[in-house]
């Protein structure tokens, strides 16, 4: 199996095979909800950080009893449904946070209705300045102490630095793969890259580094992709499912860049652990490429997008989000005001449901957009 095939398979399995391998060694696994929860800290405790995903969800029936289908997103409901059905019983702990109203409530309901062996709620500030940084540093120290006491371990500075180095290697390798897409004829598709990122969220980072290194080598022997109608940037939320990317590719688009969770925001910037490790860990996470949950994040996000549009020779932006996501929802309002500054056309928001994606509607709208911008 090639590295790409292995990674693609890992992205589509939940739990993936590394879970049983890890458990068989007598190690513990802690789930985490959001990319603002520092995986380094969990890893430094000798635990496997496992990103909670909706991969494998078959519906939302049980979750719908507790979360309203009229206004709560299908992603959080799908995850809660899986939890209520026992799909996450392999976890030894769970870390929730205030990523958004949907996610935090799904976490609270999960813990309240079925419980978890270890529950920690990490408060993550919604903006970045000296005050919020101090608060977040305290929150991370609380998480450290809680992990240490529950799992009978010590998170030393040395362990933390080591974990940061390993995850930064992940990020650097992913960035090098993404940069391949700057080429006129890249050797990896956006949907493939998306799967590669998803896979890395829930496997040991050491194993991930090995797979990524193999993938970098494999790419050199892959045929370049010349046959496409337009170079597409995906802006918004596509979650842990590559279907949206595949729809774009099915109608001739080539996704070359994105500003998404489970996308470049995950790995574009390394974390810097210098000086006090907890202070710098907190700073790195608060200042990472910002998700729309961050109150003060739009300007940086917009600059990142503009830079990438130039670097990746983007023809147009597809703006997308989960139905009922207010934080991503207001982004199109901001973009509309900056239409000229953006420099390329962008689509009206394309709304997705996580379970039961209406492929036909999206395909029609994406194809129409590509017709307008194709080279």
């Amino acid at each position: 199996m090639t590295a790409l095939e292995e990674l693609t398979l890992l992205a589509k399995q939940n739990p993936n095979p590394t879970v049983s391998a890890w458990k068989n060694k007598g190690h513990k696994i802690v789930g985490y909800w959001c990319s603002y929860i520092p995986r380094e800290l969990v890893h430094a405790a000798g635990l496997l950080p496992y990103r909670i995903k909706g991969v494998g969800a078959e519906g939302t029936t049980r979750a719908d009893v507790y979360m309203a289908a009229v206004c709560n997103c299908t992603y959080s409901r799908a995850i809660l449904d899986m939890a209520l059905n026992g799909a996450y019983n392999f976890l030894d702990g769970l870390i929730g946070m205030n990523e958004c109203d949907h996610g935090r409530r799904a976490h609270e309901i999960w813990v309240k209705k079925i419980g978890v062996p270890f529950d920690h709620f990490l408060f993550v500030p919604h903006k970045s300045n000296d005050t919020t940084l101090r608060e977040f540093e305290k929150e991370l120290l609380k998480l450290k102490v809680h992990l240490e006491s529950r799992f009978h371990t010590f998170i030393t500075d040395e362990n933390l630095l080591n974990s940061a180095r390993i995850y930064n290697d992940n990020r650097a390798l992913l960035k090098s793969l993404q940069e391949n897409m700057k080429e006129k004829a890249p050797r990896i598709k956006g949907s493939e890259m998306h799967d590669v990122v998803i896979a890395g969220e829930s496997i040991p980072p050491e194993q991930y580094n090995q797979l990524l290194r193999r993938l970098v080598e494999e790419l050199e022997n892959r045929p370049p992709l010349y046959d496409y109608r337009a170079r597409i940037f995906i802006y918004g939320w596509t979650g842990d499912d590559s279907s949206f990317y595949k729809i774009v590719e099915d109608v001739g688009g080539l996704v070359v860049a994105d500003n998404c969770c489970f996308g470049t925001r995950e790995f574009w910037e390394p974390i810097h652990l210098d000086g006090d490790p907890f202070n710098s860990l907190a700073a790195s996470y608060l200042n990472r490429p910002p998700c729309p949950r961050m109150i003060d994040g739009f300007d940086k996000r917009f600059q990142d997008v503009k830079d990438m549009i130039t670097e990746f020779q983007v023809d147009g932006l597809l703006v997308t989000r989960q139905q009922f996501c207010d934080l991503h929802g207001v982004e199109a309002f901001f973009l509309k005001k900056r239409e000229k500054e953006l420099g390329v056309p962008f689509s009206a928001p394309l709304i997705q449901e996580y379970v039961g994606l209406d492929t036909g509607r999206l395909k029609t709208r994406i194809e129409a957009f590509i017709e307008q911008i194709e080279r």
């Binding site: 979360m67 109203d101 408060f123 919604h126 739009f298 207010d326 901001f334 509309k336």
Partner: protein
């Protein structure tokens, strides 16, 4: 439409394209005063908080150099302390008559504001982009109670090109959380000084906080009286007016005067052993939203079922700010007061706040029936409804009705549809009460 009931509900005709009002503030002012003038003169004082709110906003618009936009979950004390004029855009959505508000909601959607954003907020954004709200000199907001609030405050700031100051609300309710918020209040004062060129007058801050404390003390006294049977309030509508005052006017003299009048009236009724205009048979708690496009419905429920609103989430305040008068202490007291305000408290933090507060009200105020009118766009609260229902029934035997509404927009759930949910529920509650009597 006239129903088969002997009461007339409002008619809304959305088939015509409604117009955006050129002078929205004064249009609202006129509509409010006209509506109140048609009420029984003896009862007109009840709606004074609405009049105060719109009068203050109209006055602010006349000289917008001192206007500060604030979120409804940010207490106005900060703005009063600076000698500035608070304007709460979502408060304006609430005060705006339905037929005037709808086009502003729709206008926001045209500008790519999502249709699942809270209509209080999308309505206010629609007003802003239609130039119906004066451009502010500063914007102070909080991240509570929900994501909608973050989206709205950043959208307004972006539209006006005004750097906002948005206080990051903590998840928890503890000393550390209060300190975190208090530090940001201090930073907020510095922000206001920079944006407006005015200096904080500490003596004025003390006076404002003293009035805020007095207002909270009065609310507590009123709430204690509400435990009496029958509930000694003239009409359920007064609960909504109390929420308008407490959200938007704490720290003002006129709110204190109105609450004193409210308390005096409640005391007198309690002394006489009387309630409002209808005989009390079922004590209801509106533990979440209260649809406000048709107030006649509550009169009808009182008349037909004796269903009296005793609790309304947005008018229930737990914490009374008390301070030594020292600046740090004033800020901390204000922090706790903001974090404890309705919705802020129950929506930003763990779901247990909503659940336990609801159970507390139902128990302490001897509630017979709880009603969760779930505002369509309220993600944080809709995901608490089922657990609350289970707890109220399991622990207290209090049944809870939940249904979808948009508290401002009758296109989602009409008055008739609401009655379709509420009437059978109240009939069931009444039957059960009868059965209990029989034993």
């Amino acid at each position: 439409m006239t129903s088969k009931r002997d009461i007339i509900f409002k008619e809304f005709d959305f088939s015509k394209k409604p117009e955006l009002k050129t002078d929205l503030l004064h249009t609202i002012q006129y509509a409010i005063k006209s509506a109140i003038s048609q009420r029984d003169p003896v009862m007109q004082w009840i709606w004074q908080p609405s009049i105060n709110a719109i009068d203050d906003m109209c006055a602010a618009a006349e000289d917008p150099t001192d206007v500060v936009l604030i979120g409804f979950n940010l207490a106005p004390e900060m703005i009063y302390a600076m000698g500035l004029k608070p304007v709460c855009p979502e408060g304006l959505s609430f005060l705006c008559p339905t037929e005037y508000l709808i086009p502003y909601i729709d206008e926001s959607h045209k500008a790519f504001i999502p249709d699942h954003l809270c209509s209080f907020l999308s309505g206010s954004i629609g007003m802003a982009i239609s130039n119906a709200i004066p451009k502010p000199v500063a914007i102070v907001h909080t991240s509570q109670p929900c994501d909608n609030s973050i989206a709205q405050s950043t959208a307004l700031a972006d539209f006006y090109g005004v750097e906002p100051y948005i206080i990051d609300s903590p998840y928890y309710d503890n000393d550390e959380a209060y300190d975190y918020f208090a530090v940001q209040i201090k930073e907020g004062f510095r922000y206001l000084e920079q944006m407006t060129g005015k200096k904080l007058d500490i003596d004025r801050f003390r006076e404002v906080m003293a009035r805020s404390q007095r207002a909270h003390e009065l609310v507590h006294e009123i709430n204690e009286l509400k435990k009496r049977k029958p509930c000694p309030i003239p009409t359920g509508a007064i609960l909504r007016q109390l929420s308008i005052g407490m959200y938007g006017q704490t720290g003002s003299e006129h709110l204190v005067r109105w609450l004193e009048k409210h308390l005096e009236d409640a005391r007198e009724r309690a002394h006489k052993g009387i309630g409002g205009q209808h005989e009390e048979k079922i004590r209801t708690a509106w533990i979440y939203a209260w649809p406000s496009f048709e107030w006649t419905i509550y009169e009808w429920l009182g008349k037909k079922y004796g269903a009296i609103p005793v609790i309304f989430q947005a008018s229930e305040y737990f914490y009374t700010p008390k301070s030594s008068g020292d600046f740090d202490d004033l800020c901390r007291s204000l922090a706790i007061r903001i974090l404890s305000c309705p919705m802020g408290r129950s929506s930003r933090g763990h779901l247990d706040y909503f659940v336990r507060d609801s159970a507390y009200w139902c128990k302490e105020w001897s509630i017979d029936a709880a009603i969760f009118a779930g505002h369509l766009q309220c993600k944080a609260n809709w995901s608490v409804a089922q657990i609350t229902k289970e707890v109220l029934m399991d622990e207290l035997g209090v049944p809870m009705l939940s249904f979808v509404v948009d508290a401002l927009d009758p296109r989602v759930t009409s008055t008739e549809q609401m009655l379709g949910y509420i009437e059978p529920f109240l009939e069931m509650v009444a039957e059960n009460k009868e059965l209990e009597k029989i034993g």
